[in-house]
Structure formats: structure tokens, C-alpha cells
């Protein structure tokens, strides 16, 4: 393959050419209630070419027929030539990397029969169903893949990787009369078959939570001190802040650049945020991004002050900064765009108890059903919550929806505990039609001195 790619590059007439080829073997199993919905194995093969010429824009071509590679190199070149630009696209320098990276497959999923994967998921699904009568429905899914990946560019980079991934998720629905509640569990790892055993307790806990929520009151809407658990804090920092730190959001827009000026204060000195594509063993971790740039730990907020952003080679050159290894594509069907990897709120000091000790009335918001941001506005639904009363965790509450303005909310983070953890979830991040991109989020417990919590939604 490497020779084929090198030959195709040699025939390219463009000033810059890069080629990615991927061959992905995947399998998927899903249950709905006691019923097996599907158990399938698939193979996905394709390539991507991107070409750039002086005074021109990007020409890109993606294809499933690898025989077409030479033709597609030519087409990408022609498409680039068809896009005339007054202001040229420049790429920041990256030393061309040559690497053969066969990630630890940790039990190659390709060697495990589909029936064993079904048995594993059946056990986890069964753990949710075993919680009993109130659990009226479950959904459970298993997905694994191994992707063989090649990347070459005309500057001499040549990378060959074997990348594993395994994702499990479960949803338990509990019902009593007209009240329906859900409990979620999700595990996503850049590992293999051996890494996903012994998870039954986590699935059972999700189902138990769904049942417990049936009796929980809705949180009373209003403004409270809010503690985010590490899972929700991670989702928050990814959604509400991380996307703004992607340089493609600002690089073409002077006003946006002003909003995200390095040196701007975003929070109190307790707040540290970063993105680390090189963190060991996480789902968002890879040695190189999809432009062949090595990944790294990039500080974004240090002691409350904006100090960095995430770059592709193009955005880095444009802003006169250094590439950070954040140009990523979900597959050969897409061009690399600026994305997060493993995004985190840095560790603080003290314990969870220290954070709640002086709160007479507050909300402890845990885990996330989902979240969405629209630039400076965000909305997150916690999977569940607890009231905090007189410095103690009190009753379970539901319908905990946090909404607010990013800048105000970041600035109101006044305490960060020292109990950091990564949250290795399934799912992934969506942007520009590319979903799901494997990412990880991490955080310790975080306190927001005042936030709006919605609840009491009419049913």
C-alpha cells in the first residue's frame, strides 16, 4: 500500500498533496428489551486526497474504489486549480513524520466471533433487565472496530497505524403510570476485546438510577450554587468552551478573534483548561492528527486566562501560531477540520466535601443526558441530580437542566476539587457534518457559585 501511495504522490502535479487510506473492519450488536435487534459485521474501505496549489484553494476527493486513486489525485489537483484565491492558503511547518504505529489491540476484536460479542452484550443488557418490574425497556449496543490507516503527504510524511476501538452503551427505561425515566451507561475505549469485561455492575447501576428517578421530584427551577460532577464538568468544558477554542471558529473573523484574544480573562485563577491528544490510553488519543502533525497537550486557559487554541496547519499559519495536532477527520469521507481530542479541566485542590461544606441550598448535577451550545449560549441536561442542603448531599432530583451564558458561567466557577478523572464515554463529538468523532473529557468536581437550573417542566 505504501508504495502505491508514494507512486500516486509522485504523479501529482499539485504543489501540495496528501492521501489517506483507511480499511475498517467493524462489528455491531444491539438489543432492545430481550430481543436481539442486530448482529452485523461490516467492512469499509476508502481513500481521501487533498491538493493545494499556490494562489488556489483546496481540492478534495474521496472515494471507495481504491483503483481510482491515481484518477482522484488528478481530480483533487484540478479542483484546487479551479478555486482562485487572492489571499493564499499557507500551511504552518511541521517536520514530516515517518511512523509505523501499531496500537495495542488489547485482544484483537477481529478474532472474536460475533456470537461471543452477542453473549457479552446480552449479559450487560440482562443486568439492566434484572433490576426488575419497573424497568420496562432497555437498549444496549456494542460496537467495535479495527482500522488500518495510511497517511502520506508530498512533504515526506508517511504514517501507518492500526487503531482499535470498542464502545458499549445501555439505556434503561423505567416507568410507573405516566412517569418515564431513563438511566444511561456508556463506555468508549481505544482498546480491544479484553477491556470491556466486568462492566455488568455499571449497567445495573444505570437501571437502578432510572427506577430511583421515578420517585424523585423535579428540581425546583431557579438560581443555585451548582456542583458539577466530573462527568458533567467534562461535557460542559468540551461543549461550552472547547468549540470556541477551535481556531477555525476565529481565524477568518476579526470580531471573533477579538472575542477570543489570547490574554483575555475567562475565569478565576482556579480555572485551568486544556486539550491533550497525546494523553496515554484515551479514546481521543492518537500519535498524529490527520495532517500528520504529532498530537500534544495544549493549554487553553491557565489560571483563568486564555493562553491557547486548537489548530490545523492552515489556521496556525493564518494566526501566526503553532500547529497543535488537532486537524481530524472522522473517516476518509471527510477533510480534516479543527477538532478536540481529550479536553479537560485541570485538577484543583481539596475534596468534594470541601466544595459543598458552606452551601446552605444548592444543586449537585451529575452525568449528562446531553448538551448543546450555540456559541456563547449553552444548555445541558444532567442525567440526575441531588439537592445540597446545609452542606450535605440530600434528596435525588430530576429534570436538572443547566442553561446560561458561557462567559458568565466560566467566570462563576469559584472552586475546583482535586479529584480529577477522565470520563471514557462512547458517542462522540459532532461538527461540520462529521459525527461521531472519538473524544474524551475529563475534570474534577467543579463549583459554579451561581447558575440557572431549569426544572418543573410541564409533562
Amino acid at each position: 500500500m505504501r508504495d502505491r501511495l508514494r507512486e500516486a504522490l509522485e504523479h501529482s502535479r499539485a504543489d501540495y498533496t496528501e492521501i489517506r487510506v483507511e480499511r475498517t473492519w467493524s462489528s455491531a450488536v444491539s438489543f432492545r428489551g430481550r430481543r436481539l435487534e442486530a448482529a452485523t459485521a461490516s467492512e469499509d474501505v476508502g481513500g481521501f486526497v487533498r491538493a493545494l496549489n499556490r494562489g488556489c484553494g483546496w481540492g478534495i476527493a474521496s472515494f471507495t474504489s481504491l483503483d481510482q486513486l491515481p484518477v482522484m489525485v488528478t481530480r483533487a489537483h484540478q479542483l484546487s486549480r479551479a478555486v482562485r484565491l487572492e489571499e493564499p492558503i499557507r500551511l504552518a511547518n511541521v517536520a514530516p513524520q515517518q511512523a509505523e504505529v501499531l496500537l495495542d489491540l488489547d485482544g484483537d476484536v477481529r478474532g472474536v466471533p460475533l456470537s461471543e460479542k452477542k453473549r457479552l452484550l446480552e449479559a450487560y443488557n440482562g443486568a439492566m433487565l434484572a433490576v426488575g418490574g419497573r424497568v420496562v425497556d432497555t437498549q444496549a449496543s456494542y460496537h467495535d472496530e479495527v482500522s488500518e490507516y495510511w497517511y502520506v503527504n508530498s512533504e515526506g510524511a508517511a504514517v501507518h497505524e492500526l487503531r482499535p476501538e470498542v464502545v458499549l452503551s445501555g439505556t434503561a427505561t423505567a416507568r410507573r403510570d405516566g412517569t418515564i425515566e431513563k438511566g444511561l451507561e456508556s463506555i468508549g475505549l481505544r482498546k480491544g476485546w479484553r477491556s470491556v469485561h466486568d462492566c455488568a455492575a455499571r449497567f445495573r447501576a444505570a437501571a437502578e438510577r432510572a427506577v430511583a428517578l421515578l420517585d424523585a421530584p423535579s428540581v425546583k427551577g431557579g438560581t443555585y450554587p451548582v456542583i458539577l460532577d466530573p462527568d458533567l464538568a467534562g461535557v460542559f468544558i468540551h461543549e461550552a468552551f472547547g468549540h470556541l477554542s477551535e481556531a477555525d471558529f476565529v481565524y477568518e473573523n476579526p470580531q471573533a478573534r477579538e472575542m477570543m484574544t489570547l490574554g483575555r480573562r475567562f475565569g478565576k485563577p482556579v480555572l485551568n483548561v486544556g486539550d491533550n491528544g497525546a494523553a496515554v490510553g484515551l479514546r481521543g488519543t492518537l500519535p498524529f492528527d490527520d495532517e500528520g502533525t504529532p498530537t500534544q497537550d495544549t493549554p487553553l486557559i491557565r489560571e483563568g486566562v486564555l493562553v491557547g487554541r486548537l489548530h490545523s496547519r492552515e489556521t496556525a499559519a493564518r494566526l501566526g501560531e503553532r500547529p497543535t495536532g488537532n486537524a481530524r477527520a472522522i473517516s476518509f469521507r471527510h477533510p480534516p477540520i479543527v477538532r478536540m481530542t481529550n479536553t479537560y479541566i485541570g485538577n484543583g485542590r481539596g475534596t468534594f466535601q470541601d466544595l459543598i461544606r458552606d452551601i446552605p441550598l444548592g444543586v449537585y448535577a451529575c452525568s449528562a443526558f446531553g448538551g448543546q451550545t450555540l456559541l456563547e449560549n449553552f444548555s445541558f441536561t444532567a442525567a440526575y441530580g441531588h439537592m445540597i442542603r446545609d452542606g450535605r448531599v440530600a434528596e435525588l432530583v430530576k429534570d436538572v437542566v443547566l442553561a446560561g451564558n458561557l462567559f458568565e458561567t466560566l467566570d462563576r466557577i469559584d472552586r475546583v476539587a482535586g479529584d480529577f478523572r477522565w470520563n471514557q464515554m462512547g458517542g462522540g463529538c459532532g461538527k461540520g457534518g462529521q459525527f461521531p468523532l472519538p473524544v474524551t473529557e475529563g475534570a474534577p468536581h467543579v463549583r459554579i457559585e451561581e447558575a440557572l437550573v431549569g426544572g418543573d417542566v410541564a409533562r
Binding site: 448482529a39 473573523n253 448538551g371
Partner: protein, 448 residues
Amino acid sequence: MSERVLEGLLDAVHRRAEGGDALWRREERTSLAFEAGRLKTAGVTEEAGMNLRVVQGGRVGVAGTTAADARPEDLLARALASAELGETLAVAFPGKVPLPHIATHVDHVANATLDDLTRMGRALVQQLSRDGCQVNISIEREVSETRVLNTAGAAASYQATAIAVTAGLVRFAGDDVLMVYDQSVGADLPNEADLNALVTSIQARLEFALRIATPPEGALPVIFTPGGLTAILLPLEMSLSGKAVVQGTSKLAGNVGEQIFDPRLSLTDDPLVPGRASSRPCDDEGVPSRTLPLIERGIVRGFVYDLETAARAGTASTGHGRRGVFGKPHIDYSNLVLGTRDGEAGGGRGGASAFAGGLLDGIADGLVVDDLIGVGQGNVIGGAFSHPVALAYRVQHGEITGRVKDAAVAGNVYGLLKRIGGLGNDGRWWGSRWAPSLLLEGVSVARR
């Protein structure tokens, strides 16, 4: 991957399994991206793949591949392995029946050159440019070919074209970020009127948004625009899916023939609308397309089914099976029509008539909701929604007085749709959905 592989594959299925069906699809996409008013990227995508389903021992299995070098026997072997674990289900594959005639392929869309598409984009950039705003435009043209074959004799094949033009303005003022966008989607190229309507729609909404208004509070009349309606229709779409019926989660399963909604509410799925990108002679399982009333004048009429869900429900497929190369076919709508398509001839493709469809008159204090944050999250099928606004306007004494930030709307769709305040005269396509603006009374509006 050649389409002829499909015949060979079906032969193998005949020999080695009790039955089956297969889909082969080839897509060629051309896309242009204008960033900040400049054309920056031009791209092509060529993709072909095959999805196979087999029945063996009464059990159903599936497999898919995009590999050009895939051998039919390997794909079949994988499908058979899947069937060994699959559920027992009597899938009624459709036989050889005539398909309705619907034009899905427009030659001049397929033949449009990169230059043609670039010119369209540049003209839009020019019309939309204004100080302090960034113009982003994407144009995507797709030409596809679909073939569906099964062992019961069905053999369908059609070509289709689609073009999507999305345009948006982004404006930053301090920490206030405003995004206004609109789109025009169809099987045919947008004409000048369509493009003008797209521009007018974006400009009008931007103009109204420049002033900031204080959000109102309380149970108020709220107009949901054709683009802002998603949160209202999503619970119905989920409950009207045969899958929700089979799983016992549909809120409407027991209500067929009953007056559940305001008599002005009608919802139809129509795969036979001329000129739409989602129109088709048959679904991805070879079931002939037909117009399907789901709610008629407030009365629940029926649900959408694919082959497998229909088999489990003991009914017939309504022709709503959608499948990709990977995984099993699933239920999906084609063109979802709210109300009737009156006025479509008047440029309803992507256009703008009077903002908010003439529903503003008579509203003393309320909102127009054009976009919400977080739609699709939470317990959607139950009908309860609660979302911060992404783009919304305050209405006072029948006039729009500015854009509302930091407000949220909440309510329950099933309650609110029992009494509709009014349907606008601005019916239009929003992606594959036709809808006018919808006025609902007593929507909870909260300030934050």
C-alpha cells in the same frame, strides 16, 4: 463496485438462503464551500456500497461493504453468520409490482459544471455581503443511483439528483454572536426566485435581530416558524413511527381514529412530491411509494413501517424503510408535510413570504421562535420540551420589537396542539419538511 455484483449476489442468496434482499447505491457528490465570502474548497466524493439481508432458518441477518474488492460469497457468509444470531421473523419481501412514476433525476442538475455552481455561490455572496457580517455558503450537488433486488422478484432501479444550498451570516458584536442561516434543497436547481427568497429570508431575519429586546415572561402566544418547528414536530414523528408502536413507547398507538389534536393539524408523509430530494418510486426495501396520511384534521390515521417492524406488528410496510451500506434497514420519513401544500407554486421552496406567516396581528405580547438549542435531547417522545432560544424575536402589539436573548420556551406538545392559534400563510420546505409557521397559545416563556 459494479452494480452487476448485485445480480451475482442475489443468485448466491437464492442458492444458499431461504430469501433475502440487497441494496446497491452509488453516489457522486460535488461540494463547494465559501468561507467568509471566499470560495475555499471544492470537492468530489464517489462512493458505492452494498447492503445485503438474508433469511436463513427463519432468522434475519445483514452485512454491508464498500470494499470494491469484496467478493459476493464473503458478504453472503457474513450475512449468514449474522442470521445465525438474528431474530426469527417472517419478513414479507415485496414481489414484482409496478412502481409509481416519479421524476427523481434532473439532467441539468447532473450536468451542472463546477463553474455553474461557483457562479451561483458567488452571486449569493454578493447579495448577502454586508458590513460586520461573515458570509458562509455551501453548495452540494448529488447524483445517485439506487438498485434494490430481492428473492421475491422485486427489482427496482432509479437515478436521482439533489442539490442543497445553505447560506448563513455570522455577526459578532462584543460577546454577542448572531447567526442567521437558511437553505434551499431540492431535486432541481434553485431558480432565481428561489435564490432571491433565500437572500430575502436571511436579510429579513438579520434585520429584525439587530435590536435586542427584553424577553417577556409567562404563558404566552408563541409562533414557531417553519425552521423553528422541529421541537414541536419531533415528538409526533417519534410517536408515529411503527417502531415506537411495537415497543410500546408511542403516545399515539392507541389513538387511531380519535380526535387527538386541533382539527387544523394534518400531517402527511409524501414520497411522491415532484422535485423533492427525498422523493422516490420505492423505499430502500423495494416497497412502492405512496402518500400516507398520518394525522388528518386532528385525527390519528396511521404509522410508518418498514418491512421488519411491519412483520413484528403484524401489518404491512408503508414503504418507509431506509438503509445505508451498513446495518439494518430502519424506519425513516420521506417528505413530511404539515397542513396542505397550498402556495407551493409561489416559490415555497426556500422562500420567505411575510415573516411569521401573517400571524403577528393580534398578538399583544409573545415570541417568534426561529431556532432552539438542544432539540432532540431529553425525553422527547413524552412530548415535554424545554429549550433556550437560539434565535427568537419578541412580538408586541403585532410588531416585532427585536431579538430576544437569554430566554427559554417550555411546554408539552400534546397539550399545546389540542388548540392551535393559527397556521401561517408562509408554508415552505425546510429540508424534507413542508410547514407553515404555527401559532401556539400558552407556551411557557422564561427569562434567565
